[in-house]
Amino acid sequence: MSVLFGPEFQALLAAAVRRVRSLRGRKDSELPSRRQIGAPRGAFAGHRRYSSGDDVRHVDWNAYARTGELFAKVFEEDERRALTLLLDCTPSMLASDRYDGARRMAALVGALALARLDGLRVVCGKDAVYTLNGAEGVGTLLKILDDVEPAVVDADDLARVPIDRGWLGSTCWISDFAEPDAHSMGLRMLRGAGRNCTGVLPAVPADRSPDVGGWIELRDPETGEIELVRVDTELRAAIESELELLERRQDALFAAVGYPLLRLPIPAAGDFRLTSWFPGRWISRI
């Protein structure tokens, strides 16, 4: 395993599975009994077009016989017990340690979902969609997260994946939401489709105040643009004001669609304490 998911993180992950008991504040006893996603239980919710990654056991062969097209049967209860993880892999996440922190948070959330719920779907891009279930899926999850490379992905395309595929469970969107306007449409689509969504923003200190001074070369990881600025007291105050304004826009964006936005500070490197990664029981809000 890579340095990202080294033994210390593995220990953290195991501790989280053991000790963090709930997602969205519900006890296991309150949740329906676990079952495999592939097991057709619960009320038949309808059909949707078959897409790559769907279990072939869910294919409605009768419908195929009638129409000549593949449809998958959707069972409501199964979907509600699954978690969809949208991971922003755009280059803007490369700033500071946000990308690694985001992937570790995704690993923690995904592992808990695999342990507590019936399944996990990981969406890293329009075509990078993975379906996992069972505790044994944790290893696959970590490999997926370890291997995923930064790529330019449109936020709308990312949000459209669970809608198009008819996934009914909760959605956790891990991103820096650096451009709130770019995420607005995706969140509104999720809201319109009746999905529950929680925004998780791995926060770094530079989101509030740049810890730099003097002549600084700024580089935008997505566009490659470079600016040279001299950071002094006046400019520092101005950028702090602008970053605060950005936070307010992000909060306003999620408030507008009724979803929570969780700003989770990324623990310092080498800090694998459970309390550092799960402050304030935020996991219960997913």
Partner: protein, 508 residues
């Protein structure tokens, strides 16, 4: 493109320094941030310009600097090759007064000046009695003021034409034997005319006698055909006749003087200015002759003086006559040198007694070229005693002795001459020689200088070549060459370009 001061371009070596100064500062830290938009908004809020190396601004600055440096070096675009100056050689010889030549010359000059572009520098060289350089606008010469003689010096034309920057135009009548420039443009004015002329005239005045003789050389209109002439004395015709080559008139002058004119008469010819010659004859002085010192004791001297006074219209007066027009002295002493006199052994000034007289000085030679002694034989002159050399006044030596001058001619104002002999007649045999009357008469004439001589003939006489109004060679004009255009200075456009680049740099 040429530069007036190419060394200024060394300033372009400062461009690397300019590049170094234009570079942004080296960043202390490089930060990857997803909040580029926020940074830009913050920079804008603080009203700062983003610091970056803007290529366009830098190259505009470089362009401005290059333009300014180039402007300081005096750049110019070379104009069309060709002459950029025009020198007009204007023939102001007297023959230009003939006919319409001078008017045509002035018209040709005005036409040439008008035809050349404004940037061509035009100078006029007046080739008359002297060569003068004037500006074209300053040329205002009346035909009557043209020089008495002269022509376009061919060597001057050659020197001017050597330089390709200078075009040369010769305006001449092309008449007479003068050489014409064989380089540059040439414009012939006037035309050949038939002309008769008095080309030389000599007056022999017999003063103090009354006789006068005029000899004038004539150039007839047609060879061998006599020309009619008149001689007028103070407006009164005294002679008329016909002559082919020379006019000779012998007559008596008036004691009160007057104008003597020799005119060719007949139909007007092409150049009437050379048809007559005039002299002004002064009134005869008629001075009294004073006999001073021991002169009265010399009968020969006294007789010669009386004859001289009689011929000249005066009389012999005594030694007290202070207003005598001419003095003859023998020995004695005078305070100063009289203005008109002939002195024989007379001491001048004070002292001098200590110096010993020269005993039996030997006469070596006499000035045969002097008008005073020309043609006179003094080889028999013997001198027993003469004044010492230091008592002789400074002047032209007439008699040269072994020990120094024995007679000198002292120049006085108005061309007058006073003759001083260093010995008395009593101490020599000069009174016994036939030369004495001649010497006295010539000294008497020379003592009055120009006041008794005819004047004016030289100003009217023309050279024979000037009077010959025929062309010795075919007259064919040569046109002016195409002039070059001036260089176009580029300093101002370059400065404007620099200002434009700087303005664009502000906007960029």
């Amino acid at each position: 493109m040429d530069f007036a001061d190419l060394s200024r371009l060394w300033l372009l070596l400062a461009l690397p320094l300019l590049y170094w100064l234009a570079r942004p500062p080296r960043p202390q830290q490089r930060v990857v941030t997803p909040h580029m938009a926020q940074w830009r908004a913050a920079v804008a809020r603080t009203q700062r310009r983003p610091v970056r190396f803007r290529r366009l601004r830098f190259w505009l600055l470089v362009l401005a600097v290059i333009a300014l440096v180039a402007a300081s070096a005096g750049p110019k675009l070379a104009g069309r090759p060709g002459p950029r100056r025009l020198v007009v050689l204007l023939d102001e010889s007297t023959s230009m007064r003939a006919g319409t030549a001078w008017r045509e010359a002035r018209d040709a000059l005005a036409e040439a000046v008008d035809a050349v572009p404004e940037y061509i520098d035009v100078r006029v060289v007046r080739c008359g009695a002297s060569v003068d350089v004037v500006d074209a606008s300053d040329l205002a010469v009346d035909a009557d003021l043209l020089g008495g003689s002269g022509s376009v010096p061919p060597e001057l034309a050659q020197e001017i034409a050597v330089d390709g920057e200078v075009a040369m135009l010769t305006i001449t009548d092309g008449l007479g034997p003068y050489l014409r420039p064989d380089v540059g443009a040439i414009r012939f004015v006037g035309r050949p005319l038939a002309n008769r002329a008095i080309v030389a005239c000599d007056v022999v005045d017999g003063w103090p006698g009354a006789g006068i003789e005029v000899r004038a050389r004539v150039r007839a209109t047609r060879a061998g055909v006599p020309e009619e002439y008149v001689v007028e004395l103070d407006g009164v015709e005294v002679s008329r006749g016909r002559a082919i080559d020379e006019i000779t008139f012998v007559g008596e002058r008036l004691r009160e003087g007057g104008e003597l004119a020799v005119r060719l008469v007949g139909e007007a010819d092409g150049f009437p200015h050379d048809d007559a010659v005039r002299f002004t004859l002064p009134a005869s002085p008629a001075p009294d002759v004073a006999i001073l010192g021991d002169a009265t004791e010399r009968p020969a001297l006294l007789a010669a003086a009386e004859t001289l006074a009689h011929v000249g219209g005066g009389r012999v007066v005594g030694p007290d006559a202070t207003k005598a027009g001419f003095a003859v002295t023998e020995g004695g002493r005078l305070e100063s040198l009289p203005p008109r006199a002939i002195l024989f052994g007379t001491r001048l000034g004070d002292g001098g007694e200590s110096a010993a007289s020269r005993v039996a000085p030997t006469l070596l030679d006499w000035d045969r070229a002097s008008p005073l002694l020309a043609g006179i034989d003094l080889s028999e002159l013997r001198i027993a005693r003469a004044l010492p050399v230091e008592r002789m006044p400074a002047g032209r030596t007439l008699l040269r002795g072994e020990s120094g001058p024995l007679a000198v001619a002292v120049e006085r104002p108005e061309g007058a001459v006073t003759v001083c002999f260093g010995f008395r007649l009593a101490d020599s045999n000069l009174a016994l020689l036939p030369a004495l009357p001649q010497v006295l008469a010539r000294a008497y004439r020379a003592a009055w200088g120009s006041r008794a001589r005819p004047s004016g003939a030289s100003t009217n006489l023309l050279s024979p070549s000037e009077s010959e109004l025929v062309a010795s060679e075919p007259r064919k004009d040569r046109p002016l060459p195409d002039f070059g255009s001036p260089d176009t200075p580029l300093a101002v456009p370059l400065v404007l370009l620099a200002m434009l680049a700087l303005a664009l740099r502000i906007l960029a």
